[in-house]
């Protein structure tokens, strides 16, 4: 009843929500949240593929993606804290040094 396409559609919807969040948010922290959403959407896709084709590779891929996401958050937040200490703002526009 629930086929592979259903899961893919859910993953797609979540992916688009994540994209909207990336493009919309000006608060750097919120930007990171949206990145997490993107990663999770792909995880769903991988695991669904793994289930419907009887292959464990998908689950392993999802596993490693979780590991990578964790380390990325660590480093990203560290940098964000440093930036906040230096400039006192976590607005995206304060990141802009180049003049267009």
């Amino acid at each position: 009843m629930i086929g592979f396409t259903h899961y893919l559609i859910v993953a797609g919807i979540l992916f688009s929500i994540g994209l909207v969040g990336i493009l919309k948010r000006k608060n750097l922290l919120m930007l990171f949240f949206s990145t997490e959403i993107l990663l999770n959407a792909t995880n769903i896709g991988f695991v669904a593929a793994s289930k419907y084709y009887g292959d464990l590779t998908g689950q392993l891929a999802a596993f490693f993606i979780i590991a990578v996401a964790a380390s990325e958050v660590a480093v990203g937040l560290g940098l964000l804290v440093l930036w906040y200490k230096r400039t006192g703002s976590i607005n995206l526009d304060s990141l802009q040094i180049m003049r267009g």
Binding site: M1, I13, A69, S71, A74, V81
Partner: protein, 182 residues
Amino acid sequence: MYELVAFYLFAALTIGMFCVTVFSKNALYSMSALAGGMIFISGFFFLLDAEFLGVVQIIVYSGAIMALYAFGMMFFDSTDEVKEDFVAKKTVYTLAILSAVLIVIILAAPLWGAHLENAVLVTENLGNVQSLGLAMFTNYLIAFELSAVMLLVAMISGIVLVSKQLDNSITLADEVDTQESL
């Protein structure tokens, strides 16, 4: 039957939570919604017979990563809401939906009707954890080791980024200096 209900329930809830994350103005709300969404995704994993992954999702994502975010938010002044002017709404929505649809079509199209082969054999006798472990430590060993190194590096970088006075070593200092540095 249960599967159907569970699927649609989890799907609706996940999407709802993530929408709150993306569209809320309050940082706290969006963070909490994110944490909730993670849990529901874990539900998806259980539905898909990936129990180990589901548990790992809850522990790592909702436990560690959200805790990290919460600690990070303590640094920032979350009462003042960042002013956001959402320019070019239509463009953004179009782009997002278009890209999502295209990704699905591109990735799914060759799979419709195709018959893939199992790269890693799934034997019914073993449970999920055992078979995962078997696959990981034989076929994907390198990836495992590398991700371990990467986590180590991330930890060290996290420490280096936010600490002060890294030159002073407490272990190697004399008794007299230890008192003052503490």
